[in-house]
Symmetry: C2
Subunit: 365 residues, 2 copies
Amino acid sequence: MSAERPIAFTRGVPADESYPFEAIAECAAAAVGGAHRLRVQQYGPSGGFPPLREWLAERHEVAPEQVIVANGSLQLIDLLAWALLERGDTVFVESPTYDRTLTLLRRHGATIVGIPMEADGPDTDALEAALARHRPKLFYTIADFQNPSGATVSLAKRRRIVELAGRHGFRVLEDAPYRPLRYRGSQVTSLVELDGERTVHMSSFTKQISPGVRVGYAIGEKALVARVAKFAEDTYITPSLLGEATVFEFCRRGLLEPQLERLRALYRPRLEAACEAMRRHFPGCEWIEPDGGFFLSVSLPNGVTNEALRARAAERGLALSDGRGFFPNPEDGDRFLRLPFCALTPADIDEGVARLATVVRGLAS
Amino acid sequence: MSAERPIAFTRGVPADESYPFEAIAECAAAAVGGAHRLRVQQYGPSGGFPPLREWLAERHEVAPEQVIVANGSLQLIDLLAWALLERGDTVFVESPTYDRTLTLLRRHGATIVGIPMEADGPDTDALEAALARHRPKLFYTIADFQNPSGATVSLAKRRRIVELAGRHGFRVLEDAPYRPLRYRGSQVTSLVELDGERTVHMSSFTKQISPGVRVGYAIGEKALVARVAKFAEDTYITPSLLGEATVFEFCRRGLLEPQLERLRALYRPRLEAACEAMRRHFPGCEWIEPDGGFFLSVSLPNGVTNEALRARAAERGLALSDGRGFFPNPEDGDRFLRLPFCALTPADIDEGVARLATVVRGLAS
């Protein structure tokens, strides 16, 4: 037990103060009581609430049949795995990557190959080398402000990835929940914009509105989307139309852009506080400085492993994630630390990073 | 094309006029704006919205840890399959049974064995004989007003099923979405009441409130529920808390019982109209007369098959489901016809059954 106030650098969740409660309540009531009220209550298409599909199609400049809306985007990875993978098929992922995707891919019996992550995205030379040894069905990438590293894939690497996808015949699964949350700099062209045929683009309203609405979506070519929608129908018949109609109402009323602006204004100072704290307390340490999203990541000094660090940090009131969970080969994550910064105040971030630096120095010396 | 007004005996969906729109809208707004507002928007436990779990636990006289709430009950079958089945494992089902369960079990690589259904439930002698040849992990039963047959399992057969489950070491999956919709007679003790250790009991608010809220639940022993909740977390992190909190608010306000009374009052005359029409238009025909739920079923006369019937019926404006889809061995359903009656008015039911009888007579002669 620590006498110091607890600071959790664990789950990457939105800040409690980010939720537009009143607007969501009004939109939910309007969704259930309004013109679409029968469509919201009755069974509907497994691809999602049609007005929201249409709204998203317009936003992404695709046809509505290219959009599927589901109960959060993680579930779409499960459905895509059913639609695309046989047991034993190979999937490439960034190493590290989102731990829950690894869990789902393992569940589906995929052979997972990790491509080492660098500050500007996956090592594309390593990707090309791996393609000499494997024939992946899929390359899974979180190209913007990656969970867990915080890295954004450069435009050059994105071009190389889609070029290799075309040459070697694999699909790209671009998981982009953090893309609307850029706090500085300018957007890099998305992979789906570079190659709309080979890329499935996923996003979610979890980080844009709230996890509670439970609405994620994917965009891809029509035949694949139809196939995924069939698996969705066989799994849950109809997604949560109450949540989807609420989100549609929120978007229709023009509330999404102001909400994103509010989020960026809330999270930007937290990113700045985190970077400033890293520079002040961890001089000379290797870490990835993000331009958006929820996370930055640190390479711990030689000799400092996750296991020892988490035990010591707990004594100082710090909760840390085990970095190994983000790696296809867990031992590759022995010295990897993810720091989520959005659900903490700037003061807590500074205090937490300062304590962390003390613990790390104690272990390294 | 038919000049007659179209009548659809296809999907078993609630009647459009059954939905309590105003109450759901008020409950949704209260769920999102009320005391639980932060819990509803933030990530939460994968087992579902805690107040709803507690409410259901009290209703079913079990511990909250024995309840898992999910995005509809079909999804729980998928999660249970992950939690309980290896590919190649054997599952017993009633023959016929719910077609979507068959699809999910096939997806999970299960070996499916059908136990013939009789008017009072599965043939338990056939069940015992099958147990001499197979070691099932699970017996899936819809014991009340079965989809698709309309049959209810007698108390004697329920006792025999749990006795065999104990002796042969399989679990019983009791899918009971229609159980609260009994229109006459008295309830038969549920399988979970007979054996709470071996039985997983599933139900849903789809037929009690609406499909749109997308809330189903399962009750079982704690270790299994915890295992299913872990698969739920790995699949979608958190279920739709917006829907679950809306349902909780609906239940907390005491609206569920009056809603069920309204549903029974709405559907009872439809059941009576369907039975009356069967007696009038199909004298001498073999059919199962239900006491609740959404369906009755007919054994077509010798020589009348689903395929021919559906084509001719369409000429008379009748849409019919293919009975073969409900059978583990599709050819066993050649002469099986499911008739859902809840989403049709008594007048349409009578007219539809009359037309159907004419078509059947035309084919049989």
